[in-house]
């Protein structure tokens, strides 16, 4: 049994069980749900925004110029972080379903967190000129 797994164990976990047994398991599941629900909310707002194109190109441009102000560029970075975590943890779950890395669940969770932070950091770096313009 992996050392780290025992160390993080809250209650005796069943290795067939994707979520129980590690503290990171609960967080991985909770964050998957939180980001999933947040993305559904964003999706409906997003479609509403894009549909302003039906009111004409000028209306669409006015709405989108407003929504590309620095404040919203920062919000976009949170959106990107949520998408990254959800997608990476989604792949983590897919691997477990395929029987891969079942015993490295905690490690895989931290890899998801690290990649989310790293890629969001790079995206943030390249977005700096948009956040600090004018």
């Amino acid at each position: 049994m992996a050392f780290s797994f025992r160390y993080l164990s809250l209650h005796p976990g069943n290795f067939q069980d994707r979520y129980s047994g590690t503290r990171s398991g609960w967080w991985a599941w909770f964050l998957q749900r939180l980001t999933g629900v947040a993305l559904v909310g964003y999706l409906f707002l997003h479609i509403a925004v894009i549909s302003t194109a039906r009111a004409g190109a000028d209306t669409f441009d006015a709405v989108l110029i407003f929504l590309q102000k620095p404040f919203f560029v920062v919000l976009d970075l949170f959106l990107i972080a949520a998408v990254l975590y959800h997608a990476l943890n989604g792949v983590r779950v897919l691997l477990f379903d395929a029987g891969i890395a079942i015993r490295q669940q905690a490690l895989m969770f931290w890899i998801c967190m690290l990649l989310t932070a790293a890629i969001t950091g790079v995206a943030g770096y390249f977005s700096l000129p948009l956040i600090f313009r004018e």
């Binding site: 069943n14 067939q16 069980d17 994707r18 979520y19 129980s20 398991g25 609960w26 599941w29 909770f30 749900r33 999933g36 629900v37 993305l39 559904v40 999706l43 409906f44 479609i47 894009i50 549909s51 194109a53 039906r54 190109a57 669409f60 441009d61 989108l64 110029i65 590309q68 976009d76 990107i80 998408v83 997608a87 989604g90 792949v91 897919l94 477990f96 379903d97 995206a123 390249f126 977005s127 000129p129 948009l130």
Partner: protein
């Protein structure tokens, strides 16, 4: 909040096909959402920074993107799959909640209706750039 369920339990409650299609749609969305955010948020970044372009997203820019068949395909696939995946995910969550679980069939029908209506609305919105 109820305890996280295992893969086996989840498959039994939601049914095999919703469980399976949640995974297939999730996998495809990696590429669709990836390309989408790249195109809308990053590909034009250099031009905006150098002042060749006013903003990342404007009507004309979207119109030019959607003049290419590939992006029409990508946007409509994204719209359909993300609605399926997102609403199916909401169904999974709601099925853990007693009142909704007791009316599972009605809830599923309701979510399908919401999805279909939203797809039609979203498609109508996208056609503003295409037609």
């Amino acid at each position: 909040m109820s305890a996280p369920s295992t893969s086996q339990q989840e498959k039994m409650v939601t049914g095999f096909w919703p469980w399976f299609l949640q995974r297939v749609s999730g996998f495809l969305l990696i590429f669709l959402v990836g390309v989408h955010i790249w195109m809308t948020h990053f590909s034009g970044l250099g031009d905006v920074v150098r002042g060749h372009q006013e903003e990342l997203v404007l009507f004309e820019i979207v119109k030019q993107r959607l003049a290419q068949g590939l992006f029409i395909f990508i946007d409509f696939s994204l719209l359909a799959l993300v609605l399926y995946h997102g609403l199916n995910g909401m169904r999974n969550i709601l099925l853990e909640w007693g009142p909704a679980a007791r009316h599972a069939a009605g809830m599923t029908t309701g979510l399908w209706l919401l999805g279909v209506v939203t797809f039609i609305y979203g498609a109508w919105a996208l056609l503003a750039f295409i037609l």
